[in-house]
Amino acid sequence: MNPPAARTLGFLRAEGLVKRFDDVAAVDEVSLSVNKGEIFALLGSSGCGKSTLLRMLAGFEVPTSGTVTLDGVEIASLPPYERPINMMFQSYALFPHLSVWDNIAFGLKREGLPKAEISERVEDMLRLVQLTAFAKRKPHQLSGGQQQRVALARSLAKRPQLLLLDEPLGALDKKLREQTQFELVNIIESVGVTCVMVTHDQEEAMSMASRIAVMSEGRVLQVGTPREIYEHPNCRFVADFIGQANLFDGVLSLDEPDRCEISTPEGVIHVGHGITGIPGMTLSLAVRPEKINIAKSRPDVAHNLFTGTVREIAYFGSYSTFVVDMPSGKSVKITEGNTARQDLSGITWNDSVFFWWSDSAAVTLSS
């Protein structure tokens, strides 16, 4: 039995949300639509307003203006304890004086459920996060990863319509993070709960979320799937913030339906599609480091071929990064996958090199 499509799309809707602290707008006219069952990430650096936005969804902050609806019901005026929403806190906020079992049962007891049902649901949650053996422990007797699973179990125990995750992996170390993020997604998907998460870590957002909203200075700049925001950023900020990008500024010199050319101080860059712009307008181009090829000898390509001097080489194991200085003074970052165990390129510091990219590699950015 599937819910009607109208309810599936835009299950959670925020419209024109504004939150001002004194005169500063922490969240500025944000509108979002989250679909039922998806994991939606709010991504941005600290101070971009993502946490304030999450806290408004949870009910800890009252919006200055704007509306929030969940499954068609206006919730912006409800206090947190009356919302069908649960949150997993960045610090986990586990109750230190209660056992794991009582932490998970806390929300169920507030609902006044019968004892038998509470214990059944707590047992289910403990099995889900594989902590049955730790039910009697106090939070401080658990490792960071275990505490995180208790926090998740506690926030899922009430079967919320919306699960909020505040920097879900922020308190874990790097190795544990990778393992945990898949576990977390598996659990959330097996429960089927709609989820909004906040993170400053783009890898975390990309690997966990089905869609991402990139935020900066209280505004949402772009919403899209991880691939969309990486491959088709809509502005300089997103291109630069998500992954790494070499940005070129220039002027549109040729615009035809199937191709265009941008004149930059570094030379003319060819793009394999039209952009319906006005010749003479200023444009930026973003080229991802991994989409640029590098070689010592001149390759046989017609466009987008440049020269430079290798200033830095950094070996990262699975790939290497080259920083190449162009004659114009601009530095370009290039990454090459280390597909062989030997160094095949033979490129070293201060070498003169050629680098190039295909017509479809660059993204044009108008803002």
Binding site: S91, Y92, A93, R110, G144, A171
Partner: protein, 310 residues
């Protein structure tokens, strides 16, 4: 840490207060114990030797009469002594004082702890302000307030609420008002210390899970401030059991507390051994169980208030 461990001054710093306590606390206690087992009655040298072996035979003069007299009366029987009554009275007043201090002090400490950080020092200063004047003066001031022709009665009569003065001075009311007033800061400060360092995201988590503000207070704030409640209660309860000045100045003839009895035995009856025995019994009856309880709960509460995660 290594350098610190071998720093000779460390022993000195710890040693000096310990030496101080040894000389001025442990030794007096031992002297008290020693006096309490000498011959009872006035006019006897309380420092008379406890044993004599002059003629080669050891003779001990250890007397337990003082202790017997505390618990047993020849006519009334076991437990029916003025001393036992005085212990009971002291326990009653100390318990009520502690309870009143907790009831008044908890909201007090709570709102200071939740006040804007910029005004917290000023509010704490106000809590400690009474200490700037003499304790005796402050207790005397309550006499002026609570007396039949005092400030409060005059005010109530002027307002027409009462026709004749209510007897407040030298009653339970004046005793409890005075004790609660004097000991309130000792309750507020430890409570403030625990409440101020509480992780507020725990309350948000409780609200998030469906607890109303009132439920979150009882289920999260109160249990997590247990350590502060216990130490505040100790700081009020222990000194108010032995309190002498307030019962003497504000208490009536029937409010015979153990502090007043010890004073009377010591200075009116000049019966040092009896007074010492009363003090020793008080220490054993009250302080030891409390010390054990405190030790146990300190151990337990040290595991609380730990923030989850990093």
């Amino acid at each position: 840490m290594l350098a610190f461990k071998f720093w000779p001054g460390r022993r000195f710093v710890i040693g000096v207060p310990f030496l101080w306590l040894l000389v001025f606390f442990v030794l007096p206690c031992l002297i008290l114990l020693r006096i309490s087992i000498t011959d009872m009655g006035s006019g006897v040298n309380p420092f008379a030797p406890l044993f004599d072996s002059a003629d080669g035979v050891w003779r001990f003069f250890l007397k337990y009469d003082n202790y017997v007299a505390i618990f047993w009366d020849a006519r009334a029987g076991f437990g029916q002594t003025i001393y036992m009554d005085a212990y009971a009275t002291s326990l009653k007043y100390a318990s009520f004082t502690t309870l009143l201090c907790l009831l008044i002090g908890y909201p007090f400490a709570y709102f200071i702890a939740r006040a804007k950080p910029s005004i917290r020092p000023a509010l704490l200063m106000l809590v400690m302000l009474p200490f700037w004047t003499s304790f005796l003066l402050r207790v005397y001031a309550w006499k002026g307030i609570l007396a039949d022709q005092g400030v409060l009665n005059n005010a109530l009569m002027a307002l027409g609420l009462i026709n004749q003065p209510i007897q407040m001075l030298y009653t339970d009311i004046s005793m409890l008002v005075g004790m609660t007033y004097v000991y309130l800061p000792f309750m507020v400060l430890p409570l403030y210390a625990t409440l101020a360092k509480m992780d507020l995201s725990l309350l948000e988590a409780a609200h998030d899970l469906g607890a109303s503000p009132w439920q979150a207070f009882w289920l999260i704030t109160v249990p997590l401030s247990k350590a502060g409640i216990i130490s505040g209660a100790m700081l009020v309860f222990i000194p108010s059991i032995g309190e002498f000045v307030i019962p003497s100045l504000l208490g009536g003839a029937e409010n015979i507390t153990i502090g007043r009895v010890v004073w009377d035995e010591m200075f009116s009856s000049n019966n040092w051994p009896r007074a010492s025995a009363l003090a020793v019994v008080m220490i054993f009856l009250i302080l030891f169980p409390l010390a054990l309880y405190y030790h146990y709960s300190a151990k337990q509460s040290s595991t609380l208030g730990v923030k989850g995660g990093a």
